[in-house]
Amino acid sequence: SGGGRDKSAADDSGGGGNAPGSSGYTVAFITHETPGDTFWDKVRAGAEQAAKDEGVTLKYSNDPDAAKQAGLIQSAVDAKVNGIATTLVTPDALAGAVTSATAAGVPVVGLNGGIDQYQKLGALMYFGSDETLAGESIGKRIAGQGAKHPLCVIHQTGSVALEARCDGVKSAVPGTENLQVNGADDSAVTTTLQAKLAQDKSIDYVVTLGAPIALDAINAKQQASSPAKIVTFDLNQEIAKRIKAGEVVFAIDQQPYVQGYMAVTSLYLYLKNGNDIGGGRPVLTGPSFVDQTNIDKILPFTEKNTR
């Protein structure tokens, strides 16, 4: 039989590292991940690699509901961790919890979201990209390619981060239209997109906000025989192949692995050495474009789940 697992490279993608917890630090890593999202899987992989490299004990937890995320931060404070890395996509909702962490003397580092507010909340550093900015850069790029009426696909109702991305696209291409889909069901995503493409033939670009959604968009585009081009946020192995095949024009990558890795590392350095990465300013991990020009270099990394 063909296909299947590549047996030689099956185990141990990271390699190296210290004994867990050998540095004596415990870091809580809290995100607003909806369980099972490939993007967050990479953030977490980066964080775990950093923890391994630096001998930090990592406690990862997540909840998409802002109030519950605040609860997770509070429980990390209760558990007396040495540092907290958290996403700040809903800064107002998390302000109280972050303040109580800093008040308890626990250093907090922000990542992924909250670039404008992290300092106000008392977080020391920030690693991530600006969602709106990322949206804008996609918008600018497709506008340059002649986009008039792109479709921005929101796969999670009412998500602040996703809405910000679409707003960014819209600010560059005013003809942008949003669409809500049920991201938990591939066939529902496909048919909804198919219906939308059939309903509005003038759609020339489909902007998806997550890699798995882009795959469904490819299916839908074929079904609806639509000429629309597909661009996407985030990357995974499958999408990398599609970029290489030309089915996806480009992906915008905010390097989630780096966000996870740096957030843990920066806490480690801060605790151990008092370092401040970024010099009081946010450290941007993206956006970086992945298209046919650089895909060959990136493809191998996607297979290791690090890009």
């Binding site: 296909g3 099972g36 490939t38 309903q199």
Partner: protein
Amino acid sequence: MRRTLRLLARPEAGALAAAVVIFVFFLAVAPSFRSLAAFCTVLYQSSTIGIVAVGVGLLMIGGEFDLSAGVITISAGLVNSMFCWYFGVNMWVGAALSLLFCLAVGFLNGWLVMRTGIPSFLVTLGTFFVLQGANLGVTKLVTGSVSSRDVSAIDGFDSLRTVFASSTTAGAATIWITVLWWVLFAGVAGWTLQLTRIGNWIYAVGGSAGSARAVGVPVVRTKIGLFMVVSFLGWFVGMHLLYRFNTLQAGNGVGNEFLYIIAAVVGGTLLTGGFGNASGVAIGAFIFGMTSLGIVYAGWDPNWFKAFLGVMLLLAVLVNTYVRRLSAGKAA
């Protein structure tokens, strides 16, 4: 006249009327809905909900719930995909294994419900959580990421795709094989309910388990069987997803268990059991699929999507109730 009234008195008459009303409504407001292609898309969408909904409907007529019916579709696909990917065996072997796995889950659900006396809502809620966690945990362990790997190159993939996820195109219309399966399953379920002894038992265990037991109906076996039917149909849809999309996101499938219940209830199934029928459930799934896509075809503001959906659903149920009341008042 008498004949039409008799027809109107059938439980699915109301659901059918509601479906027609909503269909005509969308024909009127959404120009792009008026094409065979659109109708086929709606049918496909309905079939992916409808197949499992048929089972869930039977189970609800039998007086029980299954909240694990949504995630089990993904579990089914993952078991097949990862087993074959890891060991490099033929996909048919994995599909069979996955079927066994699903039937075992269904059996366990039923057995726990009957054995411990804990309501099925809680037992299957437990299974739901466990499967959801296991999907994610195991996939991560096996593949190193949260989605399964591409298995399209493994032997047997193509023949399985033909069975579970092929489509034929005639002009603008694309008929997916799932639509045929859906009709088939609904037909078999309807036949079983109306014409066989087991159908009689299903109504009885849902309507009054005590009385059913007292006249010698094998209540335990009937209910466990129903749980297994649901997980069988869940497996079926899982196979479709796998062979249509090659890779599966381990976190998906959550929330669909709710859609199945909605389809069943919109189709006239009683939440408390003992009443309903298969064609009603199928129509319920169709109403849901048509409504959710119809809103897109109509191009309404997506921010209000759910609000429209809610209003349309209420409308469907109102028409349904009204027609049934009308027929009950006049027939005889």
